[in-house]
Symmetry: D2
Subunit: 447 residues, 4 copies
């Protein structure tokens, strides 16, 4: 059987991920993501109303025109988890394919919301829920399996396409977490089995985000321990404390909610995407928040919540807000500018349970946000965080578990691939033979 | 009563700390430390045999000649903890003063060992043990108190000299740790009391090592959680695992020993200073290691231990060795050069539970050490560590607790002080009035 | 005679410089500058209409209320050169003092323009022109002298107040340039004379902007040689070339104009401040541009110029535009956004004859500007520049020439002073004795 | 005709360059270099006596065993210039091939010296001199041409193999210098011709050392202008001035010699490799030094020269010495350690006309060397230098001139290639099609 891989998007950048695997006549598409920074550099672009081709030209969504070179039928579109760089182009591209969207529960809910927010296209694909550990037939000869992995969002999986020639493991995005706070640990046992069964692993496509970093990405439980340490140290403070983190990072939000209560404060989630992700997670039962946990997204209801906090005494609350990157319109930035009813006083604490995504635009915005907060007297606790992506030793362990015949680094640019290429080379892979450094829009013939 | 502070050493650098406080006719000396880098830059210097003046000229030990300007008698020499930059000059300078050396138990033991290793001078000062929480009279009118603090070595204290004019709090070295793994949490309650009693705090001398860093130094329990995460992730590895950390960091060594056993390996401590610090800590009962924990310092016994490890199967052991900075003669560096019986194989793990002290010489040596280990196949886990020094928010909390009339930044150079000066200025202190940026060899008249 | 120095502004930052020297009953004020970044962090602030106290509260202009502590009369206000951080607060503060503004010709013209643009206050102080090398009596006993220095703007001087107790040399801002392209070399001979005459130098206030940088700031002639190398290498390119630099940097603008003609292109200066500074320099005869050199400041006339360029063929022009820091409203940023009639094509060249001022906001904006230019196909030549401020070896030479009794580092924050403190310490000065690290709002009693 | 390229060494690192091109039955080998850092990491390795295979195993010289896969005869071995990473393995590998070594005059002399110093092997290959602009037949159908380029050593060329299928341009190492101080400018006219003639350029192999750096590498004339500025600024200094630079950088040494005389000092070249390279260059007439220019290599004669300098007054001399990277045994390091008769006094100047090669080992050594010099009072002028390698805009211009069908980045590792891959991709090349990112030991089939 012929096996071919089309590296459609996310092979020259982090963002707008899309990969297609053809096994005989059957094609599976992994991820259809957005590159948000290509949108934001322009003023006043509203993607909801834009046509796919314009977004492709901007570099915002994958250029899927290479799909016409693949001779076969798309049988499934498989987003691996709910981050926008993996699902953000579904509403623009999925309707072109007569295939269901297959995803884990939380991911599928977020896909639904994307589709609902879309103004331009009708996306009518079937939505099929599949849990980690489950499988589905793809045509007569292939099988799709979801292996549970751990990432900075719940319900992340690594899809595996079992073919007669061996397994194709699509390894985006994960870290190796044995104590992930919410959900099950990464299923290394299953990866090791797949590495040893039948024809073994024909090809492994890997998340190289942190491949240039030494050592091992710590578990979410280490971030939790760090966060608890910070928050317990503030237990006696009788003024305002505010926290911010990635809205989609449900495990972190849960820790914030829990520790707020440990130090005697009522947590409140504020900001559009805070409400969206946490609300969705709670609705599908992926997380159990306290019954009375407030979540407010619309500006008016947020401002009312702030007013209540100020009236009842801000020393009794922990607002968990958007704005960890200093985004100009996010809640924390508005608080820094004094545009909300929440009054920051000398000595008030702001916890960034996130790190700055290292790009000059973010760094500039975050710097400004911290400056503005500091001008009002805020004390900053930053970097209370661990990454959701494997570092070098995680990659080493994955190669050791899977023993793949071919490897394809992804989810980075060439500089970002370099650490992975070094590692794979030291493990005996060779560029141009079984180590495929590629770019967007290429196809790789494996069999 | 006149109060005067002589900033003798460690006010232009990290290293060779020494400060004298005169309260009326009584003088207390805090710390007498060594600046090791000033020794190491020269080839083949052996400090044991050197005269004080030569070491002063090299910048290796404090220039205590300024002491002759202070009109009073030295009543006590008080090392705050057992690191060499705080006790390493005692054997060269203490004999000049007719005063006891007063220290906490572990510190005092290390001072004894320093004195025994000294070849040039007879150091006959009385050695007086005093625990955190205890006090001692200094002349008729003053009292010395030890407040328990937390640092990267056990038994660290902050000495406080209570005078009729208020307290002088000598704040070197500490982090604010409420869950320090070994020993008691930092005694913030006592600091807050001191801040409010009598005349309050006349002067606070602060450890500025990390004053330019934002946020809060995590607790040792966070490092422990990180270390455990790393070691548990290696549980299934059936080859060699080696760890290195600061020899004097008894809490970390204890965690390594514990987690070694959790993953089914026998810990062994190897290297001269590993044996020294852990042996001393165990001897005085500061820590309880497993009965059969091997500690070997002399090269021959280390090599015998390595031979035993190789014979019995290195997959059953965790050697905890010296060499975390890539020091050319340390054990790990020798292992990298293949100079020990321990054989590193492809895939073996080396855990640096330490970070590189950021100075080009260290960075170069550590890089070489990692290169050599890597050439033999070792996989590196680095930075499994937290600092022992306060960051900016710890400094903020200390100022808040003590409300000192005067502050003196210490334990850094001018660039290192800058973050502290910014902080103190934002809290209302003013250079040239009550915020004293000074240098080695100055005296500051407070009353 | 009593000599006192008030360090009013610019001793905790680069920006809003202001220093007063009292010699007996006579006071001279050096510089009254603006800290522009404190204005820009707020949206929509228009300083022209703001009251001084509000600007003081924002940290935008010096807090001159400390002047009331100085017992004497202000006899002169002396801006050293025309940069905004030295003259930008004159229109807000000078009217409070009954004293003339004394400055070199170009500086005085720029002061006049500042005063004309002011909406809130009537600034009626006399404007007195004085050239480098000239002197003026200040009261009966003191004399003010201008010594020629070299900086990134023409007509910069270092004012020296000769008092019976020795000279006060105000050393802001300069580099040591013996071949400055425009104007005379720095007058080191005069500095050396002042160092040796009468009572020598009582006090030297130094520009520490680059005091942490090793070596020597190159001459403007090195930047010119670099710029020429870049431009000559583009001689054969037949598309668009655009350059940007500091508008006030007349020597650099002159080089750009000259080299444009060398490679057969017509230079055109575009952007409000390009027109302002170059126009002023030409008007007072400080520089001789080609007769037909176009300078356009108003947006409409700029756009007309761009239209002409596009019509006549952009390969025949070198637009020299504003926007070297990626400022959102500057000309080059507008070009990147496609908001001007100038069309950037694949392969067109953009020369940044400037470096990014190292602050995250600038870095973010400049990054965005380069991204936008790059998306249109522009090739970027950056860092074709040398700084206008002394580095460490220049400071060493100044201390050697002046042999001052006291030194006061200025024009930086504490971290920025640190390199200067190291240098001065190694030359025998001592903190708290004759080396005065101070902050805004202090006074230092010298005699 | 089949065209094949074997990327033997220097495709995963900077160092041990070696590339073979097969055109039909004829093979030409470009460069046979050494990776010195792989030697130096071991103590006490003497390469002169080592066998090739041991050096290959260490990664010190290219693994040329892949040559046996190429079906054809080696017709020429062509080192491009005299740096060790291009000629340092000739004495270990060339004797295996029955082919002449063809090089430009200076390069050939240095090759001869390498061969003479070799203890292990007899290298009997013919040595053929060929100048830039000349050509030589390679078999019946191919022709070898040398195109003049500019680099940090004189007599550098880019060899071009003209085949019936188009030209193979081997682009290592160069910068684009139109005013190179010594020798002719880069022959861009010829490159442009080659790009347009016949079948054009089939393949371009490019020096990516600086491919991640923006802009354009300045000309040597800019470094010269910078150096002159530094030295003229020291004209009045009446103590010691010492300079160091790359020994093989004849243009820079020439500038140092010239400017020494301009400021009234006698230049003296000191250190083994100073004598070697300058002596060789003078002997073959590539440079004309003053008749009485002293060059001393052996330690005894160097020390005698230092004694003469001290006796006659060091203010009359400019020693130009080895040691710009802080190499432990180089002359400047010995001077820092006080191991030579040259006495460094307070205020003496040391000019590093070089930059630190950015690798932690170098950085550590250089830092130590500067520390030791500083402890004796030396003032440091560093970074008076420009690189010898193209930056991004030089690469852009080369692609524009040559319009190659295929490009192969070389002289870097994967991270180092990344900027070049970005550039080539933006110019329409595609990974896996005509943009070949490869590694050591691969072969690429072009026709």
């Amino acid at each position: 059987m012929e096996i071919e891989i089309a590296t459609i998007g996310g092979y020259e950048e982090v963002g707008r991920q899309m990969t297609a695997v053809r096994a005989g006549d059957d094609i599976v598409v992994f991820d259809m993501g957005l590159n948000l920074s290509k949108v934001l550099i322009h003023d006043n672009v509203q993607t909801e109303r834009m046509h796919s081709l314009d977004l492709i030209d901007m570099g915002a969504i994958p250029d899927d025109r290479v799909m016409s070179d693949l001779e076969g039928d798309v049988k499934a579109i498989v987003p691996t988890h709910g981050h926008l760089d993996h699902i953000g182009a579904i509403s623009k591209l999925a309707h072109r394919y007569d295939a269901p969207i297959v995803a884990s529960p939380f991911t599928l809910e977020l896909v639904k919301e994307e589709i609902q927010d879309e103004d331009k296209f009708e996306v009518g694909n079937d939505l099929v829920e599949m849990d980690a550990g489950e499988t589905m037939s793809i045509g007569d000869k292939n099988e799709l399996e979801f292996v549970n992995v751990t990432h900075s969002i719940i319900d992340a999986i690594n899809p595996v396409l079992h073919t007669p020639e061996g397994a194709i493991v699509y390894g985006l995005d994960k870290r190796m977490d044995h104590t992930p706070v919410i959900g099950d640990p990464i299923d290394m046992k299953r990866f090791r089995e797949i590495g040893r069964e039948d024809n073994g692993v024909l090809c492994y496509i890997e998340d190289c985000t942190n491949a240039n970093k030494k050592g091992r990405t710590p578990s979410e439980s280490v971030a939790r321990s760090h966060l608890r340490d910070v928050m317990r140290s503030l237990e006696d403070y009788d003024g305002g404390i505010v926290a911010t983190t990635f809205s989609s990072h449900i495990a972190r939000v849960t820790s914030l909610v829990e520790f707020a209560e440990e130090i005697g404060r009522e947590p409140v989630l504020l900001g559009r995407s805070m409400e969206k992700y946490s609300g969705t997670a709670e609705r599908i039962g992926a997380v159990e928040f306290p019954d009375d946990l407030g979540m407010y997204g619309h500006r008016q209801s947020v401002d009312r919540a702030f007013e209540r906090i100020m009236n009842e005494g801000k020393e009794n609350f922990l607002p968990v807000v958007t704005g960890h990157q200093g985004e100009p319109r996010a809640m924390l930035t508005r608080m820094g500018r004094g545009e909300t009813p929440y009054q920051i006083d000398d000595g008030d604490k702001v916890i960034f349970s996130a790190r700055v995504i290292p790009e000059p635009t973010n760094e500039g915005q975050r710097y400004q946000s911290e400056k503005l907060l500091g001008m009002q007297g805020a004390r900053i606790y930053d970097d209370v965080h661990v990454s959701g992506h494997l570092r070098k030793e995680g990659h080493y362990e994955m190669l050791d578990a899977l023993q793949p015949q071919h490897v394809i680094p992804a989810h980075q640019d060439m500089a970002g691939f370099s650490g992975y290429v070094d590692l794979a080379s030291s493990e005996g892979y060779k560029l141009g033979r079984d180590l495929h450094v590629t770019s967007n829009g290429n196809t790789i013939q494996l069999v």
